[in-house]
Symmetry: none
DNA sequence: TATTAAGCGAGACGGTACGTCTTGTCTTGGA
DNA sequence: TCCAAGACAAGACGTACCGTCTCGCTTAATA
């Protein structure tokens, strides 16, 4: 994922791990006190005590830095539950995800999704790095459901994934209702429990 | 929708209809050839042959202009189908909406949603003016379904609306799959047809 | 000097004397609280409760209004002394002029002179209307001195006028020293009193 | 005269000599074809091929740039004559000064003096940098006259300086008569030659 | 151990867009 | 018929960031 610290062919000073860490820390600090759209390369550089060229050497813009900082922070915060039952796996997973968004990173995640719409260079990276991995986790949970016979062999897992993630993103972005446990329960119930209708 | 030209309390030159129209036209023209995030107040002013202060007198920024232009263009493009049957009403409505997004305004709508994430001043206006009206249309369709007995009296219409709009926005923003007729059909089938699973 | 309030030939609403007076009053009021270069046509119009086009109908810019207001205010504030003696006439006249500048209009007069440098349209009017009349007053005092034999028949009165007014303007504009009575006395003494050297 | 390029405390890209020179050249060029009050920061930036922030980094406005350009151009154009005689020294000095103003920089100098009246930030700098140095030159000439006994020990040199510079500025600003050699001669004669009256 | 070249901070650079201000003209409706 | 109110096109203002560049200092692997 990161070919940056290798090479080191001949002489010369190696790249400073310290600078990278300072940037990540500074970014997370700034996100605590200011909103995403107030972040600029200049501010991050100043806060991290790092030169702008250093920033540009390793990242091509603010959203790339923020995404990396976010993934570094949230690393393995959300696991993949395996209770042996589809409904409770999905329920668990959604609850975890909602909580993570509500309590912490929601604002920033919203901003990154927004950035991905406006910045084509970032869009691809964001989807393949950030979104895709989480979607895969859900798809794997669903696949286990198919194996167990809880879903039909020909179930459209992509559609079901959209039906789980779609409403989540919709509420996250549109803010017309909370991403709380009630919502997770209703969602799971409506989607998987025939009696829930 | 626009109470501005009514103010006209006493004296004073009234708002120039010509300038307003020039701005709307220029904005739509620019959107045809450039992407949303290349739009600037200055470019719009120049294209419309209008002074910047005139722009700022009536709109507080690019997204507000774009939203108004979009609503003016799409006025009544999407109707509210009434076939007498819930499933086909929803199907019809989603198909219409998807087509409108796919063929024309999708790019710009995505950008406005993104803007709403990054620009708090715009967020409220966007949701209350743009999103809300369309959501109401769907809710009304669902209510008719309840009246006809196609949905139970206590059905959670807000949840169902989220399950319709959520996946749409998710695909629009995340671009991992098309907003085509197949998707509309699958969605409706999964949500309302017990045999569709 | 002012052919504006006459005519009133046929029908129609007569021109408002009230508006003119309001402009003059408003201008003088504004000059009490703000500096000349903060004056704008718009601010004067607002303060006077007058439309901008009305302002432009009668004056072509801020300095023209200010000059008229100033002359209206200072009308006959400075007389032409006639003590029967050249030296005391000039001394008297300079003292009067210095006092008027120091106590009141100095700031504004400085600004008008500055404006005349930057604004060719104003330059001519300013010199012919404002400066010239005062210069003539001094020249007349000097001529009386020639008639009385206090100055030689071939005295260069223009040069002497420059020697009186020049230092005054120089100190007014350059502010390196005060325009006080001592200065008036020294000036007269150096210029007219052979023993004063 | 310019302690800016010496700062260079530690790191950082040093001030670009090229940019500085381009600005000076562009300013002098523009002054040849347009009048001072048509000069704007934007035009200078464009003509010099320099960004506006670079201009504002080093100068706080148009008059500051113009003054620097003028001083750079006129550097040591006017010397301090020393003929051994007061009258001819002053005469020489005034002739030089008049010629410089008449042939070249007069227009711009007038404008700067005007600017100093309207712009308090500029006023101080202008007087201390531009005016003061020239006044000192004249005062030194007069002091030599005192040492030689051509002027009394207690002569008021400041007054005499005002009597030389005052009429010059008066004619420069008021334009009622030329700044020619005749004027220089009359002035010197009236001020220093008892028989000249 | 000394050399040496890359990485580093700082920050100036040419640009672009911002949102505000003022100018002088115009267009209404009310008096 | 004249006016106040104020909208209009134009364009300069001074600021904030952008992404690139040029410095001189620091630092660690190579020789």
């Amino acid at each position: 994922m990161d070919e940056r610290q290798e090479k080191q062919t001949g002489a010369g000073r190696p790249r400073s791990r310290k600078a990278l860490e300072a940037v990540m820390t500074a970014t997370l600090n700034l996100l605590k006190t200011t909103s995403y759209n107030q972040l600029t390369m200049e501010r991050i550089a100043k806060e991290a005590g790092v030169g702008k060229p250093t920033l540009y050497r390793w990242w091509s813009g603010v959203p790339f830095i923020v995404m990396e900082a976010l993934m570094l922070q949230a690393e393995s915060e959300i696991g993949s539950p395996d209770t042996g039952q589809l409904i409770s796996d999905v329920h668990q997973y959604l609850k975890q995800t909602f909580r993570s968004l509500t309590e912490g990173t929601g604002e920033t995640v919203r901003s990154l999704m927004a950035e991905a719409q406006l910045n084509p260079d970032f869009a691809g990276v964001f989807r393949e790095t950030f979104i895709s991995s989480r979607r895969q986790t859900l798809i794997r949970i669903l696949e286990r459901g198919v194996q167990r016979g809880e879903l039909p062999q020909n179930a459209d897992l992509e559609l079901i994934a959209d039906l789980c993630y779609g409403p989540m993103w919709y509420r996250l972005l549109n803010r017309h209702a909370a991403l709380d446990e009630t919502f997770a329960a209703s969602l799971v119930s409506y989607l998987f429990d025939s009696d829930g209708r």
